[in-house]
Amino acid sequence: MRDVYVAGIGITTFTRLEYPLVEIASYASMMALKDAGITEVDQVYVANMGAARLNHQTALASAVTDSLSLLPAGAAAIENGPASGAAAIKAGFQAVASGMDDVVLVAGVERMREVNNLEATDFVATLTHPLAEYIYGVTLPALAAMFARLYMDKYGVTERHLAMVGVKNQNAALNNEWAHLQQAITLEGILDSPEAMTNNPYVADPLRFFDACPVSDGGAAIILVSKEKAQELGRPMIRLSGIGQATDTHAVFEREEPTDLLAVRKAAHDAYQMSGLSPEEIDVAELHDAFTILEIAQSEEVGFFPKGEGHIALEKGETALGGKIPINVGGGLKGRGHPVGATGVAQAWEIVTQLRGDGGKRQVEGARTGLTLNFGGFGNNVVCLTFVRED
């Protein structure tokens, strides 16, 4: 198997975008192509979850490849729920590592704000089990809320811990010009003040408005290449060193221990094993904080902290910029936004930015290794990636 490197990265602003879906994907891709200094690719993968349903667009990868005049490159769209982005990166890795392709463009894109909030909520809920979950009116916030309640009951996590994650990540987004949310929040404003319930109402108790990521449009892209090609291009040598992917039960209630995220644990384990890294050796991480409770739980499952102690590490500032393991320094899904198909690629974009030392105010000093965790379904399809700077 050949080593695979990231030669280029690109991203659009995550917000409400008034551009067609193909243009959003193409814009991020153009940035990645220019960053790498290439005009030809062998293969294009486009990660997306809802184009057919939300945007009346099918065969997305063909459209993006044509828009970028990359013909006759191979092209395929990859739909894997909210883990589409990292799943597409895995496909790109396999193409280069196998020797089948030398240069692969992986783009992730979503345009969710084309429909109203009710439709967007319903669209995301279609990833739940159709007969055992969806028919009951379950939503992703509802699943996260029931998970959070169990976590609170078992480990002593409180609404304050959840709000602390929200404040940390939304305020981190202020240092990321591409992030959706550009407004500072405080614990006073969203939890402690008499106006907190008005500012921050419950969406599914115990989760409140600021415990959830925003619904965003946006695109991100990376270029994966062989070692020879990476050396030829002369960009920083960032190797995609580890990949783990695992699944769990479709219906969340079937899990033997409902507070365990076994697919996260397995995906991270396999990525560490492939890369030869341990959790202690990761300098910066992007976790899938679609809901604040998930950052706490995932920080434990990927091995940064013992089970049940993620909220204690949060209290100590260990997950903030300057802490033991900075998590979501670019805002995470909570602050950067969560255009579902783009998220896994945007996480890789952030880690590569960090490993290049281009993070500006959010730069993790001396970062040489990074990890992304892309969490599909409610933990039923998870992809973990590790990256290492080699030069």
Partner: protein, 115 residues
């Protein structure tokens, strides 16, 4: 006759599944449709719950109670809950009712109340 929600028991290894699987968790050497339907119990205890304030399309109500229940046979299921002050661990009982209405279809599921 009272409506039921069914689990599916493997004829190969006896494992009960809810929701249905095509191949048993207990033995992957399974042929097509080697399961028998078994009604789920209607009593159990509430494991966790939420009240949803931001509902998907098709629900014309202000809030919706949802919970995960551990049934008396140890299996678990998601259901709607109609309980004023839900608590983890409380005893509940279920009734099969319409839980979702769409233009041409009604969907039936379990609605739990305090036992």
């Amino acid at each position: 006759m009272a409506r039921e929600i069914y689990a599916y028991k493997s004829r190969v290894d006896g494992t009960l599944h809810y929701p249905m699987k095509m191949i048993s968790r207990g033995n992957r050497d399974h042929d097509f449709f080697e399961f028998d339907p078994v009604p789920l119990p209607k009593t159990g205890k509430l494991l966790t719950f939420t009240t949803v304030y931001n509902l998907p399309a098709q629900y014309e109500v202000a809030t919706l109670g949802l919970g995960i229940v551990e049934l008396e046979n140890g299996m678990r299921m998601l259901g709607q809950i109609e309980i004023d002050d839900p608590q983890i661990g409380m005893a509940v009982k279920g009734t099969v009712k319409v839980v979702r209405r769409e233009t041409y279809d009604d969907y039936y599921g379990m609605v739990f109340t305090a036992a």
